[in-house]
């Protein structure tokens, strides 16, 4: 997810994050403060990934924002050596993983920065890193601890 010279939104992978584009803008505001968060349904208590505006379990539409652990372990990982999409071609090779969050029944997919594929193994600990784009948007990645 590099920073394109010009933004062509048809090929822009990073979600639009402002309140005029999405109702889950608090996710990005929290992330800017270093917090990985998601929604929990006030009606039935279910926590979902990704953040939701309507609960798929009970149809409720009132949500609380809850913090997710900033630490986790590698459940599975690989590295992209070839065939990266636009905006990511210059990043290869980069590691992408399924991270199992510590103490939460939840996994997330994220890039792992500051790591070489060869040096990693399943179960390795990682922690949250906030990646900032030049245009002010943010995304989450992890780094080995």
């Amino acid at each position: 997810m590099g920073e394109p010279q010009e933004t062509h939104f048809a090929f822009d992978f990073v979600p639009l994050q402002s309140p005029d584009q999405t109702r889950i803008f608090p996710f990005y505001e929290n992330l800017k403060k270093g917090r990985l968060t998601t929604t929990r349904c006030k009606g039935c208590g279910a926590t979902h990934w990704q953040p939701r505006v309507v609960c798929p379990d009970c149809n409720g539409d009132e949500m609380d924002w809850v913090d997710l652990p900033a630490n986790g372990k590698l459940f599975a990982f690989t590295a992209v050596y070839a065939g990266a999409p636009l905006g990511m071609e210059r990043d290869v090779p980069f590691v992408v993983a399924v991270v199992e969050l510590d103490g939460a029944p939840m996994k997330v997919v994220a890039r792992i920065d500051d790591a070489k594929y060869e040096d990693l193994k399943i179960g390795d600990p990682v922690r949250l890193k906030v990646h900032e784009l030049a245009d002010g948007r943010v995304w989450f990645r992890f780094v080995p601890t």
Binding site: W49, Q50, G83
Partner: protein
Amino acid sequence: MRKVAIVGTGLTKWGVRGATYKELVQEAGKDLFDDVPNLDKPEVDSLFVGSALVDRLAFQAYPAPIVAEQLGLKPSRMAMRTEMACVSGQSAIRVAYASIVSGLSDVAVVVGAEKMNLPSMAEVQSSMACVLDREWDGVNGLNAPPYFALVAQRHMHEYGTTEEQMAEVSVKNHDHAATNPYAHFPKRVTKEKVLGSTRIAPPLKLLDCSGITDGAAAVLMTHGDAAKRFTDTPVFIEGLGQAQSGSLVVNLESLTTWLPLKRAAADAFKMAGVTVHDMDLAETHDCFTISEIMEYEDLGLCGKGEGGTYVTEGQSRIGGELPTNLRGGLLGCGHPLGATGVAQAIEVTRQFRAQVPQERYVGGDWGLCHNLSGNANNHAVMVLHRGG
């Protein structure tokens, strides 16, 4: 209930083609119409088009009227595009089946087509990556090869599957493709060559992956009473199943067991009144070598975790328990997304009609087609039976 048959087939040469989407459609149509000389085009009342990424890769939305005009058809009853990523092809056949069974359609053309090679590979890969949830999976650089690499790593971790076993799938399917002039990669490869091929997303290497391929495929379908007007050997669709679960990678029920495949196969076999052990040949969705290994397992051909041994024992080769991917699979033929599911049905049909080269002829009475899409969250299974 009406029976539904495939009564004609058409294919293009698959590969990096100097041909547009519309030209590929014309080529597949010519091959199909040459195969059914008794067809009057005005009899075709319905058209189903399986194309996954035509909007992005050919910059063309709304392909059904375009395909109809390219083929000289004026569908009077049903016309639509079916878009289910890599399952778009079998979805088109499935919808045609439903339409014919219901009586809404009598004679239907199904086309699967994809023009995938553009001057910018990064643009192609971007379009492929948004087959996954673009906002939460694709954004991380996840695409088909890295996703199936995660699957392969877990399968190796949980069951001891090896890169050598995965390589055997590629060797087998390239052996088959070497007999197929329509294939993108009609050349044998050795295990050493697979293991030494360019790293894409470890443990997957170039020859563990199906290609970025242009191609089209078409079939003519009709009901049982009309089938014999077009061919002496209609191929009847006796069972179908399709099941889906999850979208985001982390919300899938399992990375290493494809539960939707088990459900789709159970439905298709129940409907047909047969089991996987009655099949004479199978076309399964070998988008990556690990996929075919998991398909042996989740179709019930071997125990969980034994898929690697199944291929190294030769069970999926000609002469083995279930010859699999005789046209060369996605690994040997390439994978023009919407065309793949249609071409799988064509291979079974041409096998039953003894229209394939002798080196890969198996024939028989029962054939299986399996098509999967996205992060393997949708699986479609079809059971075909030789009529005549």
